[in-house]
């Protein structure tokens, strides 16, 4: 039962009808990070998938860019309640990166430069649902927003779309990442408003 606030009208600026519960529309691109922004030189950048046996598959920056690239347009929803619709990105589908990875694990931990981690089930990374993106709105992704490259998993709250991504580790069991340890939801579906533990 919600408490009615007398005299509250609100702005109702969401002319866009389809926002997840509790979200509002923004046209800016706000930033949420836990610490300083890491700066990663492209010649030292790499991305590694580690399976549950410890076997590693890595790509350098040039190797990533030599893979098939996809342009995609998605809506993004931040747990701090802003949503941004129709954002345009370019990057590599995780289907491409996982093509030659053999694994029976169902869970992953995504790792970033700077030490950030977040957990995402493998099925939410595959079948055209996630990318390693290096271009936003036609420009190289700014470090503030996760450049050189970030994960983009638009179906989940945006903290799952790890900035400065440098690897994915396959796990047999689900484990909490950085924000999940700090009280945020293990899965984070914006349409079910899974913001915090217990939602």
């Amino acid at each position: 039962m919600s408490i009615i606030s007398p005299g509250f009208g609100g702005r109702r600026r969401s002319s866009a009808p389809d926002l997840p519960p509790g979200q509002y529309l923004t046209h800016d691109f706000p930033v949420l990070s836990a610490g300083p922004t890491p700066r990663i030189p492209l010649e030292r950048w790499s991305f590694t998938i580690t399976d549950e046996t410890g076997a590693r598959t890595s790509w350098s920056w040039d190797e990533l860019n030599a893979l098939p690239q996809e342009d995609f347009t998605v809506d993004i929803h931040c747990v701090t309640k802003w949503s941004k619709l129709g954002t345009t990105w370019r990057g590599v589908s995780l289907d491409t990166l996982f093509e030659n990875v053999e694994s029976t694990a169902d869970f992953t931990m995504v790792h970033s430069y700077g030490g950030y981690t977040t957990n995402v089930p493998l099925e939410d990374l595959l079948d055209g649902k996630a990318w390693i993106a290096h271009t936003f709105d036609g420009e190289p992704l700014h470090p503030e927003h996760g450049g050189p490259a970030r994960l983009v998993v638009p179906a989940l709250y945006f903290w799952k779309s790890a900035k400065w991504v440098n690897g994915i580790e396959m796990l047999q069991q689900d484990e909490p990442g950085f924000w999940e340890e700090a009280g945020y939801h293990m899965y984070g579906d914006p349409w079910r408003e899974q913001r915090y533990q217990g939602d």
């Binding site: 919600s2 408490i3 009615i4 606030s5 007398p6 005299g7 509250f8 009208g9 609100g10 702005r11 109702r12 600026r13 509790g22 509002y24 923004t26 800016d28 691109f29 706000p30 930033v31 949420l32 990070s33 836990a34 610490g35 300083p36 922004t37 890491p38 701090t80 309640k81 802003w82 700077g114 030490g115 503030e144 950085f178 924000w179 340890e181 700090a182 009280g183 915090y196």
Partner: protein, 233 residues
């Protein structure tokens, strides 16, 4: 809400008596949801300004922002005696848990609110951790908690506060107005060798610039915790 007071002409502290509040750590925030009579609702997160004492109240300091549908209601419409729908406390990262390390707090504007909760918690616990606050404000009249900060500094040798004015300084101020830069953080912060825990809170551009400088000065990036607000593109 049991009472409210103005901290500046555009920032109001709400004192909330929350039944079954479990207590909170300094730096945590709370979600406020407003619902209009026709069912339209909007929610936003606000940092808690107060330190927790058993059986006590919870204080939020709300800065009115242009075009802020929730903040302007909380600053200008909400009256004592009215109820609010809250969720919290939230957050387990941008919190000070009373570790023995020295602490450097760097605030931009209303980013001082969660840092004030840390200062108050340390004061309540008679903590001995040396605290330094570097607080960037536009002008003297925009300073939140000015009187309380001055009193705490006077009474507590373990707390230093340095105010940095970006637009207008007090008349007798020696430095010209300007943004916090390398010199300010180097002079008024802790040396990196002291391995302080650092908390930076403010608008995104402020936090980005400050955190970059601290890393460049040699602070360990993993000891710098940031909280950002505002819609900087």
């Amino acid at each position: 809400m049991t009472e409210a007071r103005w901290e500046t002409p555009s920032a109001r502290t709400l004192v909330l008596d929350v039944p079954q509040w479990p207590g909170h750590l300094p730096g945590q925030h709370i979600d406020v949801r407003l619902t209009a009579p026709d069912g339209y609702s909007a929610q936003r997160s606000y940092s808690i300004a107060s330190a927790w004492r058993d059986g006590g109240t919870v204080e939020l300091t709300i800065q009115r922002v242009a075009d802020g549908e929730v903040s302007s209601y909380l600053t200008d419409v909400l009256e004592p005696g009215q109820q609010l729908e809250l969720r919290g406390p939230v957050g387990g990262w941008f919190v000070w848990r009373g570790a023995p390390a020295p602490v450097l707090l760097v605030a931009g504007g209303s980013g001082v609110v969660p840092l004030m909760a840390m200062i108050r918690a340390r004061g309540d616990a008679r903590g001995r951790q040396p605290f330094r606050l570097i607080y960037s404000v536009r002008a003297p009249q925009d300073t939140l908690y000015a009187t309380e900060l001055a009193r705490r500094v006077r009474d507590d040798p373990g707390l230093d506060v340095h105010l940095a004015y970006t637009r207008k300084t007090p008349d007798d101020w020696l430095e010209p107005p300007g943004r916090i830069g390398v010199a300010t953080l180097n002079t008024h912060g802790w040396p990196p060798d002291f391995a302080p825990d650092v908390f930076v809170c403010g608008p995104t551009s402020f936090v980005e610039a400050t955190a970059d400088i601290l890393v460049a000065l040699g602070h360990d990036a993993s000891r710098i915790r940031t909280e950002r607000f505002g819609g900087t593109a």
